[in-house]
């Protein structure tokens, strides 16, 4: 039974709400620093080439230009990527849009004009755009150090030894147990773009030769600082996060723009702003990883998956920011979904091609794997004529089940059992009436066929990594939380304020939070993997509790009373049995010059995977192949709800950030001849408009999970992860034949129907 709280679970306006609706909120492109210059990159028109000559003299001569830099002018030891492979600028360019030269000028227009005055001659090399072609012996090699274009496995930030090959049990025995076996190749490899409205941007300023301040559109300033400090040896980096215009996990580490800004700022001695425009954003920023699986799955007669074998190929284009780490999480999430399966042999490869870089986006590897893996599992379910909801109920992780997580360690699930969530959501959707069997429509009205589909996803990263916070109480009845919480739209700052106000029983407006500035806040890994609710929440709750304990003890000493009989509310300490006896905080502190600080720390823990189930009903026009979504029901168990509206909007977010609509129309369209992305502005890149949103119902259970004082679990990151596979299933059911290609455009559907 849920506790009745003063703030927790209640819809309360965010503290920054008025700023956001009046235009006062400051985003990176709204910020100017005195004497700031504007940086711009000249970008490669070729997908693979060597720069044979470069002449910057005309650009340098342009009035207003303060610096022009090429690969000859950049530090050789600043290298980004995993493992480090991407120089600030290189003599070799590896994708259309890769950096060729950098300009700093007094305004953006001059900077742009100057890039056009740089004369470059290229020695054009043969490109490769497909991951399996890139593995062939005679394929063009992108990097000398990566033989056959295979990125070195492993992500040292996540695990000491690379976690690239999931091996458990006895795979042959697993297939012997199976009654229904299917195998084949399934791909999710159209590189859709998460496309937050605000392009990535930074302002970079050297405070001394070794001290660098970066204002960034980042939701994870400490993570960005930590990664950049490894990549810029000897530099102390301070990252200041601002209001960020959407991230979806994709604008946490603003790496290359910081490199660009830092070299230009060093060359000119002035601060430099780097803002990508929308075309640069679509062309050069990180898209979803390409994902392809050659897999084989076996299901027992009772619907339990008994064996999964395969090779998972992952393509992060020409540069991996974190792909190997995402693959580790993907392998973990596969086990969370198929937790009863004891026999695994799932190997991976991470492959470079001459495409835009692929990187972290909500769903973080798991979504890319699941989108390719679920159609395969669906075929085996079809063979056994199973209801997919029943298979998910039988296989999804429950307390006592274990999995190898991204750190390569074995973790055992506790607390979280989602069978009831699946049942409640299925009921709300009307699954038992609408599900007619595999490749069977729910209804056909003339030329319109309706089908239903379902998918599930869960992620144990909700408890990942470290968070620290301190909470300072002052004589004015104010609590100031020192914690690095960015604001990208997830309202985690608001959630932390609610939790601290609840612990200290203060009015919401008496709880303040520091800006997300790495110089003045303790470490926090950032808002990734739905971790904020548990990790940031725990650190802030513990800090507030610690401060409260010290305050009460101080008051108890003054009152010669045991601390247990005292409580505090609205900045006043009182005897529980007799609230008229007590004192304001200022009296307990003894002076307005004194404060009390409490500390809170959270440590990494992967024992409580979160969960969503995604039901979708679609309608296909059998003559045109046009498909549309009619209705969505998404179910989750969020534990205690912290904020109902923000939670619901996280579920709605499944329609954004290259999630559900990657099954219908979202893709980056590549011109195979030029290697250029043709959908590089938001007229050509397809997105769902306001008048195309279907009814969306949510089912949110509130189990009181033993996670922290408020029994909550985060779910935002995963809300769209099962959506695309669910849509494909619904389309197959609507039209009566297997639709296995993302996105299922009218052409794909008509082809499957034998009409094109």
């Amino acid at each position: 039974m849920a506790t009745e709280y003063r703030y927790i679970g209640k819809p309360i306006p965010r503290r920054d709400a008025a700023d956001l609706v009046t235009g006062r909120a400051v985003f990176i492109d709204d910020l100017c620093i005195p004497r700031m210059l504007y940086g711009k990159a000249l970008r490669s028109p070729h997908p693979h080439a060597l720069i044979s000559s470069i002449d910057v003299s005309k650009a340098k001569a342009l009035k207003g230009v303060k610096a022009v830099l090429t690969y000859k002018d950049v530090p050789p030891d600043w290298i980004s990527g995993l493992p480090p492979h991407r120089l600030v600028l290189d003599r070799k360019v590896r994708a259309v849009g890769d950096g060729v030269a950098l300009v700093a000028a007094t305004n953006p227009q001059i900077a742009l004009e100057a890039t056009q005055l740089i004369d470059v001659e290229y020695e054009v090399l043969k490109p490769v755009f497909d991951m399996e072609e890139a593995l062939l012996p005679d394929a063009p090699q992108l990097y000398e150090q990566f033989t056959q274009n295979e990125f070195t496995p492993g992500c040292p930030m996540f695990s000491k030894e690379p976690f690239k090959h999931l091996q458990r049990g006895n795979i042959e025995e697993g297939f012997k147990e199976a009654a229904f076996v299917e195998e084949g190749t399934f791909s999710f490899d159209k590189f859709p773009h998460p496309l937050p409205p605000e392009p990535p941007g930074v302002i970079v300023k050297w405070d001394s030769p070794t001290d660098l301040t970066v204002w960034a559109s980042s939701g994870a300033p400490h993570l960005m600082k930590m990664i950049l400090q490894f990549r810029m040896p000897g530099v102390n980096i301070r990252v200041i996060g601002l209001h960020t215009g959407g991230s979806y996990g994709n604008k946490q580490i603003i790496s290359m723009p910081t490199f660009y800004g830092a070299v230009l700022a060093r060359a000119t001695g002035l601060p430099v702003k780097i803002m990508l425009n929308k075309t640069e954003h679509l062309l050069t920023w990180e898209v979803r990883l390409g994902s392809r699986i050659h897999g084989k799955v076996g299901i027992r007669k009772d619907g339990v998956v008994s064996a999964f074998q395969g090779m998972w190929l992952v393509e992060p284009g020409f540069s991996s920011e974190l792909a190997q780490g995402q693959m580790g999480v993907g392998l973990g999430e596969a086990q969370v979904m198929l937790a009863k399966c004891q026999n695994w042999d799932l190997d991976t490869k991470c492959i470079a091609t001459n495409r835009s870089p692929g990187g972290p986006i909500r769903g973080f590897g798991g979504q890319e794997l699941k989108s390719a893996m679920l159609p395969l599992i669906g075929l085996a379910m079809k063979k056994g004529n199973f209801d997919p909801v029943e298979v998910f109920k039988k296989n999804f992780v429950q307390p006592g089940d274990g999995y190898f997580w991204r750190d390569g360690n074995w973790w055992t699930c506790r607390e979280t059992d989602y069978v009831k969530t699946m049942e409640e959501a299925a009921k709300k959707f009307g699954w038992s009436d609408k599900w007619k069997g595999w490749n069977k429509p729910t209804a056909v009205n003339g030329t319109k066929a309706i089908g239903v589909g379902v998918g599930v996803h869960g992620n144990a990263d909700v408890g990942e990594d470290e968070s620290e916070a301190s909470c300072r109480l002052d004589a004015f009845g104010t609590a100031t939380v020192h914690c690095c919480i960015g604001e990208t739209g997830t309202s985690q700052r608001h959630a932390a304020q609610k939790m601290v106000a609840e612990v200290l029983q203060l009015p919401m407006e008496k709880v303040l939070i520091t800006n997300a500035d790495t110089l003045v806040t303790p470490f926090d890994f950032g808002l990734v993997g739905s971790r904020g609710t548990i990790t940031v929440g725990t650190a802030c709750i513990k800090a507030a509790e610690d401060a409260r304990r010290k305050l009460i003890e101080q008051a108890a000493a003054i009152m010669h009373a045991p601390p247990e009989i005292l409580d505090t509310r609205d900045g006043f300490i009182f005897v529980k049995e007799d609230p008229s006896k007590g004192m304001p905080w200022i009296a307990a502190l003894g002076s307005p010059e004194r404060t009390i600080t409490g500390l809170g720390v959270y440590h990494n823990n992967f024992t409580t995977p979160n969960f969503v189930i995604y039901f979708v009903e679609t309608e296909v026009d059998l003559e045109t192949g046009q498909a549309k979504i009619l209705h969505v029901v998404e179910g989750t168990d969020a534990g205690q709800i912290i904020d109902p509206i923000n939670l619901r909007m996280q579920l709605h977010g499944s329609f954004g950030a290259a999630c559900v609509d990657t099954a219908l129309f979202e893709e980056s369209v590549l011109d195979q001849t030029t290697g250029r992305i043709l959908s590089a502005d938001i007229i050509d890149y397809k997105w769902r408009t306001f008048n195309e949103f279907p009814p969306f119902d949510t089912v949110i259970l509130e189990s009181q999970f033993d996670t922290h004082r408020f029994k909550a679990i985060g779910i935002g990151e995963i809300s769209g992860a099962p959506g695309a596979a669910a849509v494909l299933m619904s389309l197959s059911n609507a039209v009566g034949v297997d639709i296995m290609e993302y996105p299922a455009t009218p052409a794909v559907i008509l082809k499957a129907l034998g009409k094109a």
Partner: protein
């Protein structure tokens, strides 16, 4: 119109801006969005796609919702512009009921597209005080939002319209 000057009203204030390429002047190639953001420092108007496709830069021009990134400032002679900063009551500083409805419903997440969405909604409600759901959706179909706050936005616009009656 004075020679080499552009006169326009923004949020009730009249501006005579010199046309030219020197600092502080409006270049003939400058968009209205640039003038609002960089010359008048009204940074509530956001630029996202810079192609007139996403609606983040929407302002009202003589009451019509327009994408300020595709208009040249020099073409706005004599126009009356209203931006997100001009929605509050100038005397009382009270929020426009539409802004208040967005707050009450938390009709935003990152908030980057919010000013444009509010301005498109404002243009709709100025002309149509009781829009249907379909009319609200149609009026906002040129506004991009990727966090997906759409369902809360519909409710806010509906609430604001209902409260006017």
């Amino acid at each position: 119109m004075k020679e080499n000057t552009i006169c326009l009203s923004v949020n009730g204030n009249n501006y005579d801006l010199s046309i030219g390429t020197n600092p502080g002047e409006v270049a003939p190639s400058e968009t209205l969005a640039q003038t609002l953001r960089e010359t008048l420092l009204l940074t509530g108007t956001k630029v996202s796609c810079d192609r007139g496709a996403c609606g983040c830069c929407t302002v009202l021009m003589d009451g019509e919702a327009v994408p300020s990134c595709t208009l040249l400032t020099v073409e706005c002679e004599g126009k009356s512009i209203r931006t997100i900063e001009g929605l509050q009551n100038p005397e009382t500083r009270e929020l426009d009921p539409l802004q208040q409805a967005f707050i009450d419903n938390t009709a935003f997440q990152c908030g980057y597209c919010t000013p444009g969405i509010i301005m498109s909604s404002k243009a709709l409600l100025e002309k149509n005080s009781a829009p249907t759901e379909a009319e609200i959706k149609e009026a906002l179909s040129g506004n991009y939002c990727r966090c997906i706050s759409h369902y809360q936005v519909f409710k806010s616009v509906k609430d604001a319209a209902d409260n006017r009656r």
